[in-house]
């Protein structure tokens, strides 16, 4: 029992010796409110960010703002309690982070703002290739990728301008469609994919032409007596 007390005292002594002991008993600044206005903006719009904090210790508070990903421009010094930030052209979710410090400790808080990009979604048909030939009544697999910084709302498949099917946006950006041309499709046929971006609702598209070749399907086995 005595041995344990001695060990505890030794550890306590080490802490006091190697750490800033005073800091252990000091309090962090308290962030009362963080305001981001507006929370959804277009490129080049200005966002106003402000933090209200109190200091439980003596002395003044210091501030440090940052944005992630590191794009756009701060119009004010980032060590103020309030800053203005000009949104970049690239859409997406941006996270404001503020670090409020007193002489001893700091507190952080973050909040995000959405930048709505006006650019069209990028759509690319990966297969089939333009000019490929296919046989009537046999399934064609269409592989594509579609991307927008604000995400894709939906991807639609059109064959000769007729809507065939739709898929919701996928985080993988990969989309597969199946299409079986019936006897109404013959010769040069357009495959078009459109992608609708989230929020801005801008629409990107890619299209190729393939050839659907007619056949008389099947066989008659009975003549072989098999």
């Amino acid at each position: 029992m005595r041995k344990a007390t001695i060990t505890f005292l030794l550890i306590l002594a080490a802490i006091f010796l190697f750490c800033d002991a005073e800091k252990l008993f000091r309090k962090s600044p308290a962030i009362e409110e963080m305001t981001i206005q507006p929370k959804q903006v277009n490129p080049f719009d200005t966002v106003y960010a402000e933090v209200k904090a109190t200091n439980p210790e003596e002395g003044i508070l210091s501030y440090e703002w940052s944005i992630s990903p590191d794009q756009g421009i701060f119009l004010d010094a980032i060590d103020n309690p309030a800053v203005r930030w000009v949104a970049p052209t690239a859409g997406g979710d941006y996270t404001f982070k503020v670090k409020v410090s007193n002489s001893y400790k700091s507190t952080e808080r973050d909040e995000s703002v959405k930048v709505i990009e006006a650019g069209l979604p990028i759509v690319r048909i990966l297969s089939p290739d333009d000019g490929d030939y296919f046989i009537q009544l046999n399934e064609i697999t269409i592989q594509a990728e579609a991307f927008h910084n604000n995400g894709i709302n939906k991807v639609s498949l059109y064959i000769d301008d007729q809507l065939i099917s739709e898929k919701s946006g996928s985080s993988s950006n990969q989309y597969n469609f199946q299409f079986t041309p019936d006897t109404t499709y013959l010769g040069k046929t357009e495959i078009k994919l459109t992608a609708l971006a989230n929020f801005s609702l801008t629409e990107g598209a890619d299209s190729i032409s393939v050839f659907i070749e007619g056949i008389l399907p099947g066989k008659v086995n009975r003549i072989l007596n098999l």
């Binding site: 046989i135 007619g214 399907p217 099947g218």
Partner: protein, 255 residues
């Protein structure tokens, strides 16, 4: 005396020079560097007894291909039944060949028109126009006709009487390598009309398997007499692998 010596010298020099004749003829099987231009076999499986145009487009495209690749391609037109349309020129023998080709192709989809190029190596199936078939065939043939080929086929004289035909063909192995497990096929064609039935296959015979053909070797294949009800107009001899899936060389002769 001088004259005799002179004659002996002339003869001796001729003999010695003859011995050294270089075998540099590219068509000479004894020349290890010999090769031949290929003749590509196009086997079209069709059905012409239906209301659709697909098969006619394919056959018209083959007419154009025959003109474009004059002498570099030979065309055989096998008729077959489909699930809905029977063709009076179909033959179970052709269906067996078609089954074999389809089973050994990348796609197992059956349907006519279906054109196999030098066996199962290349396939053009379906048609949406004459030009679409020409374009697809051209894309394949442009590469095939410029390849070096190491077989020569030389048909012998065919003997025809009122109901039978006897034919033979020589095979020479060019180049410096031997080959194994070959088959020579004799395809009898009939020109029924000058439109879509120009090269209709009426019969198909196969040799026994040629187990080995040495470099430079020449082999004669004699086919058993084949009886017919309507006289064929042409014969295609086609050298294939023993499983018939690869066609090495072909030649067509008029009867």
């Amino acid at each position: 005396m001088y004259k005799s010596i002179f004659n002996i010298i002339i003869v001796a020099s001729l003999l010695s020079s003859c011995k050294d004749i270089p075998r540099d003829n590219l068509l000479d099987p004894q020349n290890p560097n010999s090769y031949q231009q290929p003749t590509v076999l196009l086997e079209a499986f069709v059905n012409t007894n239906n209301p659709y145009s697909y098969n006619l487009w394919a056959l018209q495209a083959l007419d154009s291909i025959a003109e474009i690749y004059d002498g570099r391609v030979v065309i055989a037109e096998y008729h077959r039944n489909t699930s809905q349309y029977t063709d009076p020129l179909a033959d179970p023998l052709f269906e067996l060949l078609y089954d074999k080709y389809v089973q050994n192709s990348a796609s197992s989809v059956k349907g006519v028109p279906d054109i196999f190029i030098n066996g199962t190596g290349n396939r053009v199936q379906g048609a949406s126009s004459v030009s679409s078939v020409i374009n697809r065939l051209n894309a394949v043939l442009a590469d095939l006709v410029i390849l070096e080929n190491h077989y020569t086929l030389q048909p012998g004289e065919a003997k025809i009487n009122a109901s039978e035909i006897s034919a033979s063909c020589k095979i020479a192995r060019l180049g410096n390598r031997s080959s194994e497990n070959l088959l020579l096929k004799m395809i009898l064609l009939q020109r029924i009309n000058n439109q879509e039935l120009k090269r209709v296959v009426r019969d198909l015979k196969k040799s026994t398997v040629i187990s080995r053909l040495e470099a430079g070797e020449i082999k004669t294949i004699n086919f058993d007499p084949v009886s017919f009800t309507e006289k064929p107009d042409e014969i295609i001899f086609s050298l294939t692998s023993s499983d018939e899936l690869i066609v090495y060389q072909s030649i067509q002769v008029a009867l």
